[in-house]
Symmetry: C2
Subunit: 497 residues, 2 copies
């Protein structure tokens, strides 16, 4: 309970901004999941207006004056008051440089481009998306110009997704990953191919949906608070507290949806676990996209691709998909963890996944710095796929058009995916010091202790601290690629004969 | 093309208000159709904030000054400019009396009450809804107090749904209906019961959905611009131009969904047909709820319960539901038009339907004037059901809890349903002067000419004129119960032996 009426007034105004954020999230979710295609123009306008108003409300003089009048140093560092003031002041200082009209324009252009992306990908027609990408890029350049020059142009964009992190820091981590993973990929390739033929075939989408639902229910999904829907490109969003929505693509010829559902569950459960006292404030969400991704990758990979997990779940999978009757558990486990260069990021194994991200991270910098022209993206993409993974891209649908992010206007988002991989293992290793015998739990299909540890140590914090502070509070160390690389080697490197 | 920059500025500001209206509509649709139940509190806040902002934006000084500076008499009466100024000024003059906070509070209370209504109806627990009804009523009283005293308190509420119509005018029409319909209901009852036993049974909801979709597609529904979803209480809404959404309840033991789908299609096609030049302005929607209802009832009843319509569709229905193999077309037609007092308004036949409305119209006046206490609603309801329809209400789920409207805070809405019936036949009769051999068209399953006549004569007008002007432009006369009563008699009165 606070007794400062100015603080209460600030919270009231910020709650209103958060209501608009929720409205905006519903508009976005609906656009991606339910809206009839012809609704896209009107939706782009509605999106733009709500985004602009949210921006205007947040940088209002009223909020500015209250932030100036309130001093975080009057409160205990860990208190809601101090955290709220620190984070809100930083958000305010940043957003106040940007004209609300530009926010609206970026939202409008993104919505229109996302509507164009679906059909463009379906027809593998890069030219159809190109003008939208050019528009997005032009708007991002105008956005960058709102701020004082940074060390690198890309820093400005990265900061929206990974606050306070610099491009150079990311590059250093990615250089470490490259150095370790390129030889690891070669070692694995040299050891001969794992049979994963049984992971391709006919998998009834309804049965996939049923199995995925059974699985996420066991992880913590409830019908009261969650939804699972179908989309081309899976995502998670929260249109309200206690209203967590994940989506998956139940493709008829593989089982990626099972891992995709766990991935999105990981995003959802992070939001679900934020402390209620942070609701309707700027602190009431995940601290950064890298930390967010650490949780989606935790549930998808550290839990969902572990041997112990499938000890419990494989018989259920066999029940849902009779074609596995003749495949033993170990063969399935090895196939589900097969390391093999492939075209599609979201289907990639745990090792090569990072190369997909490094490719995008490099291209994004080249785009925003003008070193690559958007019209040359397909060639550049394909050249990098050959360079990093040694594979040929047959068409743009399986290349530069595969992700929705650039259409949505997100540049600077991708690197958080690989950073999330790195962080996930740091957190997991720390958890193992507190939660005994994780494998035994997973073998019994039990995850409550795991979820509860993550909730009370990480999820509850929301955005109270900076991402780096958050990682340090949870793990005791700064972001570090060491544990992740060790984990990959231990799990996936060929065993000496 | 207009050359007045002030008018352009006004249109820009009104477009922004319309974007918020769309956002609000998506929040509403999602809440009713998709939202997980625990999301309701956060949604109520988001709803309230968006409604309040929309209100604030609309009654802003900027819009007020522009409305003062612009004179509708400078433009041709029928021009977009003159119509927009007339309608917007009237809306503004009304809304400027209401504090935006009250708008927000009404929206919040309505959203919370709608969430409570579902479970309350399911358990037939009136007490669970009572505090919400009391809250809604208190807020409506505060709303009424914002305005100068009207002839009758109810006038203020009615005007929100049926602009410029007075309670006394509605009462006069309803008195005419009572005078004609009470004896008609008796005549029909005396003539003996029609067999409709085959309309109750097992009707696979998926088959109902498929049939309803086939049907509305033929009427004008397209997958590009429309959606059909499932809800407990059917409705239509438009979250954007070219984004028309209808809902139906596919109950497993009857075929009401077929008529319900046509009903909501009628609402949708009216919005669909509004002239594009009116989009993103206050004129870009149906003119009043009575005229709206005239169109839902046109497609549900004048088209959808006609003999000619089923001449084409009955074989298709028999194909979808094999139990009709032994029922001949005439027997089905008579059953689908059976006049018989029943408990549920939305399932009622064309004649007794109006008595359900008159009951609600009377109760609403008694509630708002304080002559009936909300806690006594169940008894009052049941007494009127006995008085008007001679039937006993077994429980509140089949009585006072059946409709969502009062939970949503809508008081003054119901009478527009019966007014819609009256208007529908006036318009239909006028159309018959222009469209030759309507029955022949329907017998071939063709409705394009009908839809096109309604579109070009009514739908395109949107809110350019007052409801009364609109009705007169389309039909040549004021609202008049005569044609409707003649239609009912002709179609449904017992034939002399």
């Amino acid at each position: 309970m606070t007794e400062n009426p100015k603080f209460d007034q600030l919270k009231r105004l910020l709650a209103e901004v958060d209501d608009l954020r929720k409205a905006s999230t519903v508009l976005f979710w609906d656009m991606r999941v339910k809206m009839p295609p012809s609704g896209s123009d009107a939706r782009a306008e509605a999106n733009a207006t709500v985004a602009r108003l949210m921006h205007e409300k947040f940088v209002s003089k009223e909020i500015g004056d209250l932030l100036e009048a309130l001093d975080e140093n009057d409160y205990d560092y860990d208190s809601l008051e101090a955290c709220l003031l620190r984070v809100t002041k930083r958000d305010y200082e940043k957003l106040v440089h940007v004209p609300p009209e530009l926010t609206g324009e970026m939202r409008r252009a993104g919505a229109i481009a996302v509507a164009a992306w679906g059909p463009a990908k379906e027809r593998s027609d890069f030219q159809a998306l190109l003008p939208h990408l050019e528009k997005n890029l032009e708007l991002r350049r105008r956005y960058v110009d709102c701020f004082d020059p940074a060390d690198e142009t890309y820093d400005v964009l990265l900061d929206d997704y990974e606050p306070l992190m610099k491009t150079a820091e990311v590059r250093a981590i990615f250089d470490e990953l490259k150095e370790e993973l390129v030889p690891l990929i070669k070692e694995i390739a040299d050891a001969g191919e794992v049979d994963s033929s049984f992971l391709t075939g006919d998998f009834d989408p309804d049965a996939q949906r049923e199995f995925s639902l059974k699985l996420v229910h066991r992880l913590g999904f409830t019908d009261d608070e969650w939804r699972l829907d179908t989309t081309e490109h899976p995502f998670m969003c929260t249109p309200g507290e206690h209203d967590i929505r994940i989506t998956t693509n139940f493709r008829p010829h593989d089982l990626q949806s099972v891992f995709g559902s766990m991935h999105e569950f990981g995003h959802g459960v992070y939001e679900w676990g934020v402390a209620p006292e942070l609701h309707r404030t700027p602190l009431g969400t995940g601290v950064s996209l890298a930390v967010h991704e650490s949780q989606s990758r935790t549930w998808e990979n550290l839990v969902g691709r572990s041997r112990a997990f499938w000890r419990y779940w494989y018989p259920h999978l066999q029940e849902s998909f009779p074609q596995f009757a003749s495949v033993d558990e170990e063969a399935f486990y090895r196939a589900a963890n097969k390391v093999h260069p492939s075209l599609i990021r979201i289907d990639a194994d745990e090792v090569t996944y990072n190369m997909h991200i490094i490719l995008r991270f490099e291209l994004e910098q080249e785009l925003i710095e003008g070193r690559v022209d958007p019209k040359d993206l397909p060639q550049e993409w394909n050249a990098k796929m050959d360079h990093y993974l040694g594979i040929e891209v047959p068409d743009d649908a399986h290349g530069v058009l595969q992700d929705v992010h650039w259409a949505g206007g997100s540049i600077g988002y991708f690197p958080t995916y690989a950073l999330g991989n790195v962080i996930s293992v740091q957190i997991w290793d720390r958890m193992k010091e507190d939660v005994a015998d994780i494998d035994k739990l997973l073998e019994r299909g039990e995850v409550d202790e795991i979820r509860e540890w993550l909730r009370t140590n990480l999820y509850v914090l929301g955005r109270k601290y900076t991402p780096q502070e958050t990682i340090e509070r949870v793990t005791g160390s700064r972001i570090d690629s060491g544990p992740y690389v060790r984990y990959l080697r231990e799990k996936l490197a060929p065993q000496p004969a």
